[in-house]
Symmetry: C2
Subunit: 210 residues, 2 copies
DNA sequence: TAGATTGTTAATCGATTAACAATC
DNA sequence: TAGATTGTTAATCGATTAACAATC
């Protein structure tokens, strides 16, 4: 599970680096280059490629960047726009809706939902009341939601989303939600990350024996 | 590194669960309870406690919650407010500054910085131009920054923060920054997490052999 | 050809878990 | 005491890395 996740994350990173290298005019790349770029051992790069069955490297000239990008696209899914909805349009939800950088990276926020919408749209993206969520999600075949509701509403909203047929949630609430068979959850706990940072830099972390 | 990170994350989670259990009136807790709560094996809970040298469980009655919280506090650092600054006051930066939930969890946003501030304060939190960053950070002994600048400014701002003596960065830009000896970086790449979710639910992830 | 890089097997490393004696 | 739970050692598991034959 965790491993698979790490593995996937690396594949996505390879793809991004490759697109950048391509835009710089490069045509071929070595496992060492990719390893350097994402901070891992080149052997692991080759192992990753081998694991995804694209044994297409040339034992002299490395990998063809275009072919590699194609392979990664076919494995990771298209590089076209992927629709998500934002649930909870408070400060954070609104910021994500207005955040233009997502679009550039292939993510399209198709609508926002709020139990009590203060505006009808933001940057041209419609904001609907929660009541129409189920309908909207079904009609537009939305599979992924970004959860930005207050902590108190997290668990209840998770269930709503599950009922509506959502399959993946990026969870920004401080309530840690657990993945199930049909609903995959990625928790982003900002406070926990900050607390973690404070601990790491406190020097106390080295006291914990390895 | 990764391991240590996971270990720390678990310690923080224990602490939070324990505080909640305490607020419910509980006084003692078993390793099984904590394991259930954060979704891990109870042996790992005991191992974690053992690793941090608080062998204080009672072989019949489990652990005393108060003692456990005290121990965790002394290891993780105080539970008092911890000051951070937000760098980059665009949509996301502003949202974090206005996000009141941080305060409840012991995190105090002490100021915001922007290369071109549009307002002097938000929710009573002052917004300063980048020029005064170094001075402010030194004077207020700020050690952790939350980075919300545009992708193009990420790397440059990282260097600025390092020069100013910042020791930890929570990085919300899509540019993956690397930790150094003196500057620890926690990357939160929203687009990557979403892309990961889409892959996980696509069913293709199971094609990748384990 | 000689040199370089891949793909893959075997070795290592570290984290998690099982098992169980200690003991409350 | 008998039963239950801890603390810790040994076993397992999986991910990463080293080594190296294959080959361009």
């Amino acid at each position: 599970m965790k491993a698979n996740n790490d593995h996937t994350t690396r594949l996505i990173k390879y793809k991004r680096i490759l697109i950048q290298l391509k835009s710089l005019g490069l045509e071929r790349v070595f496992s060492t280059n990719l390893g350097d770029a994402i901070g891992i051992n080149p052997t692991l790069v080759r192992k990753d490629f081998s694991r995804m069955n694209l044994t297409q490297g040339n034992r002299k000239g490395g990998y063809n960047i275009n072919e590699l990008i194609d392979s990664l696209n076919s494995i990771l899914g298209t590089s076209e726009l992927q629709d998500v909805v934002v649930i909870g349009c408070g400060n954070l939800g609104k910021a994500l809706i207005k955040h233009e950088a997502f679009y550039k990276e292939g993510i399209n926020i198709s609508a926002g939902f709020d139990s009590n919408p203060r505006e009808a749209e933001l940057n041209g993206i419609p904001i609907y009341p929660m009541e129409v969520l189920m309908n909207y999600v079904t009609q537009h075949e939305i599979r992924v939601a970004v959860l930005c509701v207050p902590a108190g509403a997290a668990s209840h909203t998770r269930d709503l989303l599950a009922d509506a047929g959502i399959q993946g949630i990026l969870n920004f609430t401080p309530v840690e939600l657990k993945s199930s068979e049909t609903l995959r959850i990625q928790n982003v706990n900002i406070c926990l990350e900050i607390e973690n940072l404070f601990f790491q830099i406190s020097g106390k972390s080295s006291r914990v024996p390895v």
